[in-house]
Symmetry: C2
Subunit: 221 residues, 2 copies
């Protein structure tokens, strides 16, 4: 099966391509070159051509990629035709902020339940959902066929919540707590830690200057 | 200069390595193998060895990497010895949540100012910072030598805020609005959109099953 060969790095880039392709489609742009994609998404065009080659040899020299075709292909690969229910644990500021994204998740993914361990939070509303107590976590996950869990609890509670999600049958976790979680190997965990984003940005603060100096030096040849 | 060769993918993995190495160091673990790193961080050990080879040939067969040495090297590369000031624009739920991370940014990075365009937010407190009006953005960035901006405003306001940050001299932006921002090419922008994280997790929901079936099939050989 072709999709077996796709590396994690490519899988993580596909939604980024998709988002920009959807923007192009909205603006009624029919084709896009790897150069333009690269410039807008800050990626090497050769890397983009290699990524998209997984889906067949449909980019044409001098014309580029068909936007609608590419959107369809990426949606198929990411299985955006399925309905996938998501549970969020942790009804603090971050939990509130993330459930506001529900509108952007659109067709296939939805946060369908929110949980919190603190009695003061239980019964409050986040958007159109009532915050539920942890005791109902397992039943709710099974009843609503929830497959992905989002963890937005303080770091000391995160592993415990992960264990509960795994025990309840969750298949993948998006973790926002700044800790590395343990889980059985068949559970997919992505950790979204914005401190690592900031640290990798810091790398470019000085390198950007170096590169600019190099550019100037090269321009003098 | 050696660091010029480091790809963006590697730069993005370094803070992840660093976080786990710091955990190991806290537990007084002296060495770690690429296999163990790979297992804990869900990365291919060969990829990790290749990444770390940028910093010299210091991994030893059968022993692994020296944790303290590796921490020092990665900190140097990421320039974590510098003080880097960060500004946050958007004092909503996400802004609140992110400024709670200030404690984790530790030695070198700090959110030193928070701004919001809405008068109702101006003057309120987020942790130990008073939310300032946008009119003071440019002066504050220059006065506090702020180099990185975090955008946590609604998507329709994001481009405008990015323009203001760039005009005020910001060098890099971490954007949480679900839009692709335009900026001059010397400005580094990372977009932290959790919907792309969720979509790439969805890819693995079914592939996980396929892989498990494949594993079973292979085990039968």
């Amino acid at each position: 099966m072709k999709s077996d060969k796709i590396s994690e790095a490519v899988v993580r880039r596909l939604p980024v391509y998709l988002r920009y392709l959807n923007e192009l489609h909205k603006r009624e742009v029919a084709t896009v070159s790897s150069q333009e994609l690269g410039q807008r998404l800050d990626l090497n065009p050769a890397q983009i051509r290699k990524d998209l080659a997984y889906f067949g040899d449909f980019g044409r020299k001098g014309i580029g990629y068909d936007v609608i075709y590419l959107i369809e292909k990426i949606r198929q690969i990411l299985k955006l035709d399925q309905q996938i229910n998501v549970v969020l644990v942790g009804a603090g500021n971050l939990g509130h902020a993330l459930s506001n994204y529900n509108a952007f998740l659109k067709d296939n993914m939805k946060i369908v339940a929110v949980f919190d361990a603190h009695t003061a939070k239980v019964g409050t509303r986040i958007n159109n959902l009532t915050v539920l107590p942890m005791e109902e976590l397992s039943d709710t996950i099974q009843k609503l066929s929830i497959r992905i869990g989002i963890i937005t609890v303080p770091d000391i509670e995160a592993q415990n919540v992960a264990d509960m999600l795994v025990a309840a049958g969750i298949e993948a976790i998006l973790n926002f707590a700044p800790v590395i979680l343990k889980a059985p190997s068949h559970i997919r965990i992505h950790t979204a830690d914005f401190t690592t984003d900031l640290q990798s940005l810091a790398y470019y603060l000085d390198n950007g200057k170096e590169e600019m100096n190099n550019d100037t030096a090269e321009a003098g040849h």
